[in-house]
Symmetry: C2
Subunit: 133 residues, 2 copies
């Protein structure tokens, strides 16, 4: 019997050893994130990006298939990026390649978390069921 697919896939992407200037440039990051959404095959619904002081950018691209987000720590060369999609055949590789090309991380780590597993429902609620990963 074929197992039912999850409702969503959530990619948690750790980008290290990026240049300060790349991680502190709101317009470039916004352009990169919207392009990343499009090359993945997403349909952009809306987007919000913010420049923080003294440095750092946060941004979210809401897509019909869920969202992409990024938070940057230019002073540490680090950015946390997320891609959450309910469309399971998005072109994740092209999306990641585009991010690599534009943000040029020296290191990248990607976790794939399945969201909404129909055949693996959590147990009945009795207080909070916290699971650390």
């Amino acid at each position: 019997m074929k197992e039912e697919p999850p409702l969503g896939e959530h990619y948690l992407i750790e980008l290290w050893d990026c240049d300060f200037s790349k991680l502190d440039n709101l317009s470039d990051i916004q352009k990169t994130m919207t392009q990343a959404a499009l090359v993945a095959g997403g349909t952009i619904v809306d987007e919000k990006f913010h420049q923080f002081a003294p440095q750092g950018v946060s941004g979210v691209v809401v897509i019909a298939e869920s969202h992409l987000s990024i938070h940057t720590w230019p002073e540490l060369g680090y950015a946390a990026m997320d891609l959450f999609t309910c469309k399971l055949d998005m072109d994740i590789d092209s999306c990641i390649q585009l991010i690599q090309k534009h943000l040029c991380p020296g290191n990248i780590e990607i976790k794939r978390i399945l969201r909404g597993m129909p055949r693996k429902r959590p147990m009945q609620l009795s207080g909070l069921n916290k699971v650390s990963a």
Copy 2:
């Protein structure tokens, strides 16, 4: 020697067995999510919520400390909520309690993922380093 803290904490929250009507009500969900951000101790920077047809709501609250997001599948009684924070002493319990009070899930599961671990940097990039969880 004390271990350095992560740069962020990311809570992935699976809400099951919610009422269709609660998960398809944009204004109530938006109110709940903004309240959740505030009780957690977040500073709201911006927010974006969308109603999808024939059903479903997606929304993001950008906070100075990172973001909260939600995507709902009313027809399945499921919602995927996220809270990503770079402030490590946010009141997560109050945030979750508020979500439970308003969305009344029959089941809830929470994963806590550490983001930006300074002492656990990924290995040098040689192709993509995909880690499934």
